[in-house]
Structures are given as structure tokens and as C-alpha cells.
């Protein structure tokens, strides 16, 4: 299965471990990702609130360039996924916005007819790849590993159609296919603080604490996520959460593609595991390495 790939900025920088794990597991899953040439910023959620048309135009440039391949456009980043989809929605459902975006594209020698389907890599893995194909390649026994599946807010809301907006379960199924156990994680779609970490740090840290607290209470060895911003907030800021709230969290926060890689027997180096802020240790390390 071949897709046009839109990496987004995060996976080229703070989330490069996400990209490394995607590069490692994609061939095993039969997913071929051809990167969109000359892609640019998705439009970014924050910028969209400031200058809407500019943001849509930037975003649509990517869609316009992707259209000629007649393939789904796949992104690993929840924010890119949301913004590109939002652009599609405004382009297709609001004639006024469509003509404005169209004019902007025209100035750059481009045109778009609104037909690129934007998909998150989780959607592609759980819906396009045969689950048996995945389970048959599992080489590490993860049955003792308890995982808190964390979806974040952007992948299912507003309703994107491939999973339940309140209680998504597609990643739960995938985790169980890999042989691990999911805990009943009540914070599946709650806010990680997002970019508030840069402006209202205390509030964002409090939100992260709630996410980490429930994972710990439910006995999870790790949190698995699919969004670069969620991962960074929960992982890199975990020490700050601990010092502010006098907690003692040591919960690794890994990407779903990293967990796939672990189950499929890839080495930690191939999956960028060493770049994690909170390192895999203790029981989780024993489960992963002992198997």
C-alpha cells in the first residue's frame, strides 16, 4: 500500500524518534510512504486562530501538491491531521473560503479540487493493515506489559469518523494485537496542555499530572501515544511535573510505532528509544528485554 507522506515539522525535530520508529516498522506493515516533495508547514492550530486565511492557504498548498498522486495523504502528527482536514472541510463546504484559498493557490501557480483524503498513520495501520499480518510478525512476548493508550484530543475530535470521539478504541485493539494489555485509561482523550506549556506552564503541567496520575493508578507500565506534542509534554516535562507537584512519576511515554517495533523485535536504537526523556527502566525494561 503506497501513500503520500506528510511528516510535519515535529517529526523532523523534537519528535524525530517518532519518525525513526515509523521508518523502522512501515516496511514490515507493508506501508510504503513517499514523502511529499517541497511540503511546508501545515498551517498550525495556533496560527489558524490568528490569521485564518493565511493558515488555510499555507495548508492548502500541501494538499494541492499532493492531489496529482491520487493517493491518501498520511501524516503521523495529530495537529497536522486536524489542520489539513479542517482546510479540506472549509475548502469543500464554504464556497467563499474556497474561492479565497483558490486565488491564493493560483498566485503560486497551483490549483486544488478538494479531493485529497488526509489520514492519520494510526488510521492507516488499524484499518488498512491486516491485523493478522501484524500479530503473525510479533516476536516479543509483551503479555505482561500494561499499557495506557493515550489518544489526545486532536485525532478524534471534532468527529473525524474513524473512531469514537469520546471513547476511541482503535489503538487499544492494536496494542492487544501486539500482545500487550491495555489498562482502563480514563484520560484517553483529555488535554495534555498542548502549547499552553509555552504560555501557561503551571496549568499545562497540572493537566499532565492528571494524565500521568491516572496511568499510574491504573497500573500502566507506560503510556503509548500517537501525537508529537502529547508525547513531548508528558515525557520531557515529567520531571517538572514531579518537582512542582511533589510526585514521583517515572512513566515512559512512547509512540505507538515504537511499541509496534518492540513487539516486532526491532532494536531500541532502530526505534529511537534512547531519545526518550523518561527512559524505559524497571519492570518494563525486564518485560521487553526478558522476552
Amino acid at each position: 500500500m503506497k501513500y503520500t507522506y506528510y511528516p510535519g515539522c515535529s517529526v523532523t525535530a523534537t519528535a524525530n524518534l517518532y519518525q525513526e520508529s515509523i521508518d523502522t516498522v512501515a516496511p514490515s506493515l507493508g506501508i510504503e510512504l513517499e514523502e511529499l516533495d517541497d511540503w511546508n508547514c501545515c498551517g498550525a492550530t495556533a496560527y489558524m486562530s490568528v490569521r485564518e486565511l493565511m493558515s488555510f492557504a499555507i495548508s492548502a498548498r500541501n494538499l494541492a501538491m499532493a492531489e496529482k498522486f491520487h493517493r491518501d495523504l498520511v501524516t503521523p502528527c495529530s495537529a497536522c491531521y486536524l489542520v489539513l482536514n479542517k482546510t479540506n472541510h472549509y475548502f469543500n463546504d464554504y464556497p467563499d473560503m474556497r474561492s479565497k484559498i483558490g486565488k491564493a493557490l493560483e498566485a503560486g501557480g497551483l490549483s486544488y479540487s478538494g479531493n485529497v483524503r488526509v489520514r492519520h498513520i494510526l488510521d492507516v495501520i488499524v484499518n488498512d493493515v491486516d491485523m493478522e499480518k501484524i500479530s503473525s510478525q510479533v516476536t516479543r512476548d509483551l503479555k505482561e506489559l500494561r499499557v495506557a493508550p493515550y489518544y489526545g484530543c486532536q485525532i478524534v475530535r471534532p468527529e473525524m469518523g474513524f473512531d469514537d470521539p469520546d471513547e476511541p478504541e482503535s489503538m487499544d485493539r492494536l496494542i492487544e494485537t501486539l500482545g500487550a494489555e491495555t489498562v482502563d485509561y480514563s484520560m484517553k482523550t483529555k488535554c495534555c496542555g498542548a502549547s499552553l506549556m509555552g504560555t501557561e506552564e503551571k496549568m499545562a503541567l497540572a493537566l499532565c499530572r492528571d494524565l500521568l496520575m491516572d496511568a499510574q493508578k491504573k497500573g500502566a507500565h507506560c503510556i503509548v501515544t500517537l501525537c508529537p506534542l502529547c508525547q513531548m509534554n508528558l515525557d520531557i516535562y515529567q520531571p517538572k511535573v514531579n518537582s512542582l507537584f511533589k510526585t514521583d512519576f517515572k512513566i515512559p511515554v512512547i509512540y505507538i510505532t515504537q511499541l509496534i517495533g518492540i513487539a516486532l523485535g526491532a532494536s531500541p536504537a532502530e526505534l529511537g528509544m534512547k531519545r526518550l526523556g523518561v527512559k524505559v527502566s524497571g519492570e518494563m525494561k525486564r518485560i521487553i528485554e526478558g522476552a
Binding site: D164, D166, E167, D184, S186, M187, D210, D214
Partner: protein, 671 residues
């Protein structure tokens, strides 16, 4: 002999005369071909108005009647009867609607008068071609089928039986009683549900005029008003109803489990034994157990492993070889009283039902409160301890465009009832999370007032979420309800030990199937559509099929019982007539033209057109046909005609409408 048409123009007070120039219209009608007489009157529908046309017919002045007044829906029947009293076939009368289609919808002016003229010209041309039709009568079978043995069906069946009429009561469950049998108390009087219901259940079981068929489902309904043929499938009970005396020895020893126990008291939704052979509840009617074949160790997968109940039964009533049985019978009328089901809240993931312990539905709480329920009537958490704070979440699945837009009507009241029961049995704090309190019935508002003094906390706001994620020490180990308190204007987090979801009422999943079989329609809300929302709430569009209870819309017990009695009274009025007139304006197949394509068979909304295999043509059952004309329009060979609405009659009307082009003074089409 030439046709002599009488035209009667109604003023309808000022309803018509205020906009239409009556004198001008009278003058116009006099000039129309074949019209021998034109009269106008203030109110044609009044007795003197009717007498006017009746006398002219009697005197032999006219042989066709046109009344230009209101919609045929209002008074077609009135004038048909007047025509008939005068000695003329009632189908030689026709109506021109110059009120709803003219004076009421247009402004004052010459155009309005012109339109009235057009409509009258059309009616006169049509009247010229009318033909006498003969109404037919069919006898009414005095036996009635009641579908559903809840309180609605019980009431309807008893009313009819007490009047000396035969009733067949069909219930899908092993016992009659329906939802009411699962309730502990009823609002607002707090009287014991079983105490008021069970005497009626017993009466049904013993009544010589009621044939009770439990654990049975409607397979097929054929025929028409007065003469329905019904096929019912009696599901295998594996217990001989004649031999069994309901002693209970069988379930005492049964090792099978019908209702699984997961160490959680709320799993046991059953009021009766949880074994594979079971009585639905102790007061069941008939008091005969039934074997659940899915879990019975003998019947399951034909393993033949156990057989204990057969050994225990002293009367040899257990029969593992029993099979489903089809029973056919005839009835004259049908009352659908098949009830409702409660909304399944597991689809609202935010409320944590099915995921969080101690989030339970209203019905589960109802059963918990029953002395014969899972906890012996005690209000308990899943771990058996007494809750210290309980929240009741209103409008779960109701008044919510994602699920059901309608109000379920009973939830506010049963939620209030729960508050009272909780206060009576425990020391728990009670929170009511409501959108609006709807206490509309007799004594309901008073009950609400009483609860306001019983220290119940009312929080106005729709609950956003029920979560187990504690944010502080007070919330540890609790269920937390997050809600916007719209009176306080802030978001609150309220820690609780138990959350009761006041689930709404919805159409039973099998209702559509029952409705299809009885040839009635369900609306977008899933409930059966009544004949008229105000003036025909008990009847349906299909003659001889009536409604009672929550199959029509969510209802409380008093309204259900009232509707059930209304339905049985409507049936009694049918039965007392002994025969029923059938509409003469039906469709007719010209057998020479019919190609036998059967298109009309599928088009007919009343299932009135059937295929005659021998002749190879379609045939209209006149008793079922409503004369709607769908088949007429659909027939590719033009083989079907509608009596009273023949093509030539309709074309004549159209010509009449266009004849106005010659005399119109204003707004002549340009070019």
C-alpha cells in the same frame, strides 16, 4: 336524459365570502354547461344548508351535486349523506374547495374570485362524468387480538373480556406483566407496583374470555378490518403448561446459569431465579417456568448432559423435545400494546456505563429496590456497602439530538421517586442532575415540591462526564460527576458513590417488525404513527388496528391505562356495529390489459394488490384498498383504474381549471 347539475356555494360566514365575490361566482356558475341550478348559503354544512340540497334532489331538480365550500376532509361525508338522503347515489356528489385552497390562502381581489370560479368549473366538469358506486359491507369478527401483555395489553384485554368479548392476548415474554412488574413503587403515590398490578395479571390468567399465549410472537397478520388472519409462533417452553403446577422443584436443583454472576450485584437484573430453568418472577402469570435453551446443560448444543429438572419434576412436565409451534386464528380487530425498551447508555461512553462500577441504569436500580430483586431491596454498591452519595443523571438518551430528540416523559418523575426511596432506605446524599423538571401529571408537581423539602440536592445542568479520575483527596475512590451548574454559572465536580442513569424510553427493537406485520407505520422516532396526533391518538391509518401504551410514544402508567381503555372502547364500538362499510372508491384491474408484471403488488402501501397465479393477473382486494391511486399511477400498461378518480374524470377537472383562460379579466398569461 341530460345531466342536471346543482351547484351550492357556501359563504362559510366571512371565511369565503370575505374574499370571494359570491354574487359574481353564482352568476358565473349559472353560465356553465349542464348546470341547471345554482344556490348560495351562509353555512352549507348547517342543517338548513344540507336541507337545501337534499330537497332539490328529492324534488328531482338535479341529478348531480357540487358543493363549493371547504376541504373534503371536513365535510365530504356530510354532503354525501345529504345527497344520499335526497335519494341520489352519494358518489354523484363532488366538492370544490374554495376555502383552504382559495379564500384562506389568497389576498382579497379579483384573482381570488377568479380562482374560485376555476375550481367550481373543474368540479362541474368532473360532476358530469361521475358514476354511482355501491358501498360494500363486511361482517366484523367479534374476537380481538391484543399484542403485548404489559399494563396496556392487560387493561385492554380485561376491558374487552369484561364486556363479554373474546380476546387473544399474545406476549413475547414467558409471563405477562411487562415493565410494570419490575417496578417496586409507582410515582407519585408511592404505592406498590406489584400490589396494584398482580390482581389484574391474575384476572387475565383466569378470565374465561381471554386466551393467553405467553412466550409467543406474531408471525404473520393477513386479511383486513373485521377479518384478520393471524399466525402466532409459540416458542418452545420445554415445560408442559397443562402438567406443570409451578412448584419450583425444577429450578431449585438446576445447575445452569442464565444470568451470569460476576461478583457484582448489579449483574443480576433478574427478579426470578438466575438458573437456566426459571420463573421470570414469583408472581408470574402463567406460573409456569421456562427453560433457557442457550444455557441449559441438556439443551445447549444438544449435549444432553444434565436432565436434573426432569428428574425432580413429580408431574413429568419437563419435555426437552418440545418444539416451536405455529398457531393460526381469526380476529376482527387488533390492539398493539407492545410497549417499549429502555435506552442502552453504553453508547454514551462519557457516562462510563459498562466500564465503571456503580454506574447503573434506572431499571437496574428499580430491580435493586424490589424485595425480590438482586439485593433483596437494599440499596448497595457493587462491593455490598451502603453508598454515602448518589447522583441521578436525567435525560440519558432523551432530549439529545445525538440519540432521541423527544422527552421520555417518565424519567423526571421516576428520578424523584428514587430520591425518596434513597432517603427512606439510606443516609445517602442525593443529587439530581436535571435539564428541566417536567412534572406534568396529576399530583406530580406536588410530589416534586415534597422532594424539595426532603433535602435532595437539585443541580440544573446536563452532566458532561462521569469519571473515576480523582483530582483531590475527597474524590479518591469515588465516581466524579462533572457538570455545569447553570444556576450557579460554574462547572462543578461532585464526588459520588453511585450514579443512576435515568435512561429514556425508546421503541422496542422489534416494534418495526410488529408494525410491518400489522401494516401500520412507524415514525422517525421509531414509535407507531397514530391516525391523527390529536383527534385519532388510538387508531391507526389501517382500519381495525388500534394502539395502546408506549408503542405509540413514551407514556406513564395512568396515560397508558387510559389509552388502553380508549383502544378497547374503540374496538367495542366496531364489534357492536357487527359489520363495517367499505370505501367504494377503490382501484380496479382490467384483466385484459394487465401484463402480470406485479409492479403494483409491491407499490401498494396497504398490501391490497395480490397476484392471481391462475389467471396471471393482479387482483385488488377491495376490503383492503383505500383508493390512494399509487397502483394506478404506477401501472405501466394503464391496466388499473381508480373508481371515482378515473383518468377521464381527472382530465375533465383539468380542462375545467383551464377553461378560465377565456373569461379571466386579470393576470392573463402573457405571450
Amino acid at each position: 336524459m341530460a345531466v342536471r347539475i346543482g351547484v351550492y356555494i357556501c359563504h362559510c360566514g366571512t371565511n369565503i365570502a370575505g374574499k370571494v365575490d359570491i354574487d359574481e361566482v353564482v352568476e358565473f356558475a349559472r353560465g356553465l354547461e349542464n348546470v341547471s341550478l345554482v344556490k348560495d348559503y351562509k353555512f352549507m354544512c348547517s342543517d338548513p344548508g344540507q336541507a337545501l340540497l337534499q330537497k332539490d334532489v328529492e324534488d328531482g331538480l338535479i341529478d348531480r351535486v357540487v358543493v363549493a365550500s371547504c376541504s373534503p376532509l371536513m365535510h365530504e361525508n356530510t354532503f354525501r349523506k345529504a345527497t344520499e338522503r335526497g335519494g341520489l347515489n352519494p358518489y354523484l356528489f363532488t366538492m370544490a374547495n374554495i376555502r383552504e385552497q382559495c379564500s384562506w390562502v389568497h389576498l382579497d381581489g379579483a384573482e381570488t374570485t377568479d380562482k374560485a370560479k376555476d375550481l367550481i368549473a373543474a368540479a362541474v366538469r368532473r360532476a358530469f362524468l361521475l358514476e354511482p358506486l355501491t358501498k360494500r359491507e363486511v361482517p366484523i369478527n367479534p374476537r380481538t387480538l391484543v399484542i403485548g401483555g404489559g399494563i396496556a395489553g392487560i387493561q385492554a384485554a380485561l376491558d374487552l373480556a369484561e364486556a363479554g368479548k373474546q380476546v387473544v392476548l399474545v406476549e413475547r415474554e414467558p409471563s405477562i406483566g411487562g415493565h410494570m412488574a419490575k417496578f417496586d413503587k409507582t410515582f407519585p403515590t408511592l404505592d406498590c407496583s406489584a400490589c396494584i398490578l398482580t390482581p389484574r395479571m391474575v384476572s387475565v390468567g383466569q378470565h374465561p374470555n381471554i386466551e393467553l399465549m405467553t412466550y409467543s410472537e406474531i408471525e404473520e397478520v393477513g386479511g383486513y378490518v373485521g377479518n384478520f388472519n393471524v399466525t402466532v409462533r409459540k416458542k418452545a417452553r420445554y415445560v408442559d403448561e397443562q402438567l406443570c403446577n409451578g412448584c419450583g422443584a425444577c429450578w431449585e436443583k438446576c445447575p445452569g446459569t442464565r444470568v451470569p454472576r460476576k461478583g457484582n450485584v448489579h449483574e443480576k437484573l433478574s427478579l426470578g431465579p438466575t438458573t437456566s430453568i426459571y420463573m421470570p418472577f414469583m408472581q408470574a402469570v402463567p406460573a409456569i417456568p421456562v427453560i433457557d435453551a442457550q444455557t441449559c446443560l441438556y439443551l445447549k448444543d444438544d449435549q444432553h448432559k444434565c436432565g436434573l429438572c426432569a428428574k425432580e419434576c413429580e408431574r413429568d412436565a419437563i419435555n426437552y423435545d418440545m418444539e416451536d409451534e405455529s398457531v393460526e386464528f381469526e380476529v376482527g380487530n387488533i390492539i398493539i400494546a407492545s410497549g417499549f425498551q429502555t435506552f442502552d447508555p453504553s453508547v454514551i461512553k462519557r457516562y462510563g456505563y459498562d466500564r465503571l462500577d456503580n454506574v447503573i441504569t434506572a431499571l437496574q436500580f428499580e430491580i435493586m429496590n424490589c424485595a425480590s430483586g438482586s439485593t433483596g431491596g437494599k440499596i448497595q454498591k457493587a462491593d455490598g456497602s451502603e453508598p454515602e452519595a448518589i447522583g441521578i443523571v436525567h435525560c440519558v438518551g432523551s432530549r439529545d439530538e445525538n440519540y432521541h430528540e423527544y422527552c421520555s416523559r417518565v424519567c423526571c418523575m421516576y428520578s424523584l421517586k428514587y430520591s425518596h426511596l434513597i432517603k427512606e432506605k439510606t443516609n445517602a446524599e442525593v443529587y439530581q442532575f436535571y435539564i428541566d423538571m417536567r412534572c406534568f401529571g396529576k399530583g406530580y408537581e406536588e410530589f416534586y415540591d415534597r422532594l424539595l423539602t426532603e433535602d435532595v440536592r437539585f443541580v440544573r445542568g446536563k452532566v458532561a462526564e462521569v469519571t473515576d479520575v480523582a483530582m483531590n483527596e475527597a474524590e479518591e475512590g469515588k465516581l466524579i460527576v462533572r457538570v455545569e451548574d447553570t444556576l450557579l454559572g460554574s462547572v462543578r465536580r461532585i464526588p459520588l458513590d453511585m450514579v443512576i442513569l435515568s435512561t429514556g424510553l425508546e421503541a422496542h427493537h422489534s416494534l418495526k417488525d410488529v408494525a410491518n406485520k400489522c401494516n401500520v407505520s412507524v415514525g422517525s422516532d421509531g414509535f407507531i404513527i397514530e391516525k391523527h396526533p390529536k383527534l385519532g391518538p388510538v387508531a391507526t391509518a389501517t382500519d381495525g388496528v388500534f394502539l395502546a401504551g408506549a408503542c405509540q410514544s413514551p407514556k406513564d402508567i395512568p396515560d397508558t391505562v387510559a389509552q388502553a381503555s380508549a383502544a378497547s372502547s374503540a374496538v367495542l364500538s366496531m364489534i357492536t356495529r357487527e359489520k363495517i362499510e367499505i370505501e367504494a372508491a377503490t382501484a380496479e384491474v382490467n384483466e385484459d390489459k394487465c401484463s402480470g408484471c406485479k409492479l403494483c403488488n409491491t407499490l401498494c402501501p396497504y398490501l391490497a394488490v395480490k397476484f392471481d397465479e391462475e389467471k396471471g393477473v393482479s387482483v385488488v382486494n377491495e376490503a383492503l384498498c383505500k383508493g390512494c391511486g399509487t397502483c394506478v399511477a404506477g401501472c405501466p400498461s394503464g391496466a388499473i383504474s381508480a373508481k371515482h378518480f378515473e383518468d377521464r374524470q381527472i382530465f375533465a377537472e383539468i380542462e375545467g381549471i383551464f377553461s378560465g383562460l377565456e373569461y379571466k379579466t386579470v393576470s392573463k398569461p402573457k405571450g
